[in-house]
Structures are given as C-alpha cells and as structure tokens.
C-alpha cells in the first residue's frame, strides 16, 4: 500500500525559508523493462505531485519514468502564516494519494 512521508518544520519564524521533503512509496515502473519471457512490463508511475499551502499552489512537479522508485522530492517555500500544507500525488492506473502537514508561524 502506498504511503507518504513528509517533513515540514513544525514551527517557523515569519518570512523564514523552510525546506519541505516528501517521499512517496511507489514502484515507478518505467514501462521499458521486460520479463524473461520478453513481455513488456506496463508503465506504472506517479505523474504529478502538487503542494498547496493554505489552498494556494506553491509547488508542482511533472514526473517521468526517469524518476527513481519511491519518489523523493524536496523544495523550499517561505513561511508566511500558520496553516496547512496539502500534498497530492497522481499517477497511472488511477493512483491518487494525499497527505498533509501543519505549521505554526510566529
């Protein structure tokens, strides 16, 4: 089963630049591998990751088969106000997974 790991600082000063780390467990099957019988293993990857900060999109990524299994993606943002980060992963075969983390800004 898919599961997400997110690392967002619990507290930050207003205006501080914070690093957000995300890890989603997923096979990221490329669609270019073959079984020993010669059949192509169908593609099964996560195609996009979106992060919203209090409902506003702050980061989005389009992923391709060249992203390693269990996509680990980090990025930065400015802590402006207390609230919630919502993460959404979307992939092949109807894969969707969400996660969220809250932050308190002083």
């Amino acid at each position: 089963m898919a599961s997400a790991l997110i690392n967002v600082p619990a507290k930050a000063k207003r205006g501080e630049i914070i690093e957000i780390k995300t890890l989603m467990s997923h096979i990221m099957e490329t669609g270019y591998r073959h079984t020993t019988a010669g059949e192509v293993v169908p593609r099964n990857i996560i195609t996009s990751l979106t992060c919203r900060y209090n409902g506003v999109e702050i980061f989005r990524a389009d992923l391709f088969p060249a992203i390693a299994a269990n996509p680990f993606i980090t990025f930065f943002t400015v802590a402006t106000e207390s609230g919630k980060f919502d993460f959404e992963w979307i992939g092949d075969r109807g894969f969707t997974e969400t996660a969220s983390a809250s932050i308190s800004v002083e």
Partner: protein
C-alpha cells in the same frame, strides 16, 4: 602434430574471444529506442520554444561517477533573488540517452524563497544531463553535466 594442436587451440581461443566481443554488440543494440541528442533537442525545444537558452545561473549537482543508475541523487539550484517580480517560474531536467528525454518538470513560484529542488533519478547510460530554468522575465538559463554510469537503470530484465 603437437604444433598443430597448439595452433588450433590458439585459433579456438581467438575465435571464442571474438565471438564474445561480437556477441556483446547485440545486447547493447537490443535496448529500446534511446533518446538521442536529436530527441533531447526536440524535448528542450518543446519547453523553450524559439527562445534563446543561455548558460549560467543554474547549478546542477549530480555525482560525476554513478555506481547504480537506479537511484542517482540530483539537486538543481538557480541563483535568483526570488522576489515577487524576479523569480524562477520552472525548472526542467532532461537527459540524452534514457528511453525518454524528460526527467522532470518542477514549477515554482515567487513564494518559493529559494529556487532549489532535489530528487532521485534513473540513468540508463553514461550521458549528459541538462537542467533549464525559466525565469519570470521569460529568459531561459541552463547547465549541463556529464555523468558516467556503471550500472544502468530502466531497461534491465525483471526476474
């Protein structure tokens, strides 16, 4: 007689050696269609259009010698103040020899604070990786790195 035996053995070994060398060639060519420098250029053109791509500002951090192409740490950072009227809009990463030329597109905004992203990528061969950043003023900046890969990813058989 004895001399002849030796020479046949030598011939045999020579033949076996060359057979091994030639046998290795089809294994390489069995790979699915690779992204070639031409498809790399096409993928880049898809993103930048007719705009000029200048070298600089972007820093692409990938280990120069990769032992396992299945998971290669990569960091792209762009030196930019990230203010509301001068920021990095997006970062695009491409490769030369994977089956597909794209690695990832990352869309940032003025509130990113720092234009830097990290992830882990797959590399199917020793090749060139290109990172292109699109700034808010519409200009494109790039950096490229040559990477040597010992164990290739993507195309191996599933056991």
């Amino acid at each position: 007689m004895r001399k002849q035996d030796k020479s046949t053995r030598r011939q045999f070994l020579g033949l076996a050696g060359s057979a091994a060398v030639f046998g290795a060639v089809p294994i390489v060519t069995l790979r699915p269609s690779e992204a070639t420098p031409a498809t790399l250029a096409a993928a880049i053109k898809n993103v930048v259009g007719a705009a000029e791509v200048r070298t600089g500002k972007v820093k692409l951090d990938v280990p120069p010698l990769v032992e396992n192409g299945n998971t290669v740490p990569m960091t792209v950072s762009v030196s930019n103040p990230m203010t509301s009227d001068d920021y990095v809009r997006s970062i695009h990463v491409f490769n030369e020899k994977n089956p597909q030329p794209n690695i990832g597109n990352f869309y940032l905004g003025p509130h990113a604070g720092r234009a830097q992203i990290s992830t882990r990528i797959r590399l199917a061969d020793s090749q060139k990786i290109v990172a292109i950043a699109r700034l808010s003023d519409g200009s494109f900046w790039s950096a490229s790195v040559d990477v040597v890969v010992t164990l290739a990813a993507c195309t191996e058989e599933v056991i």
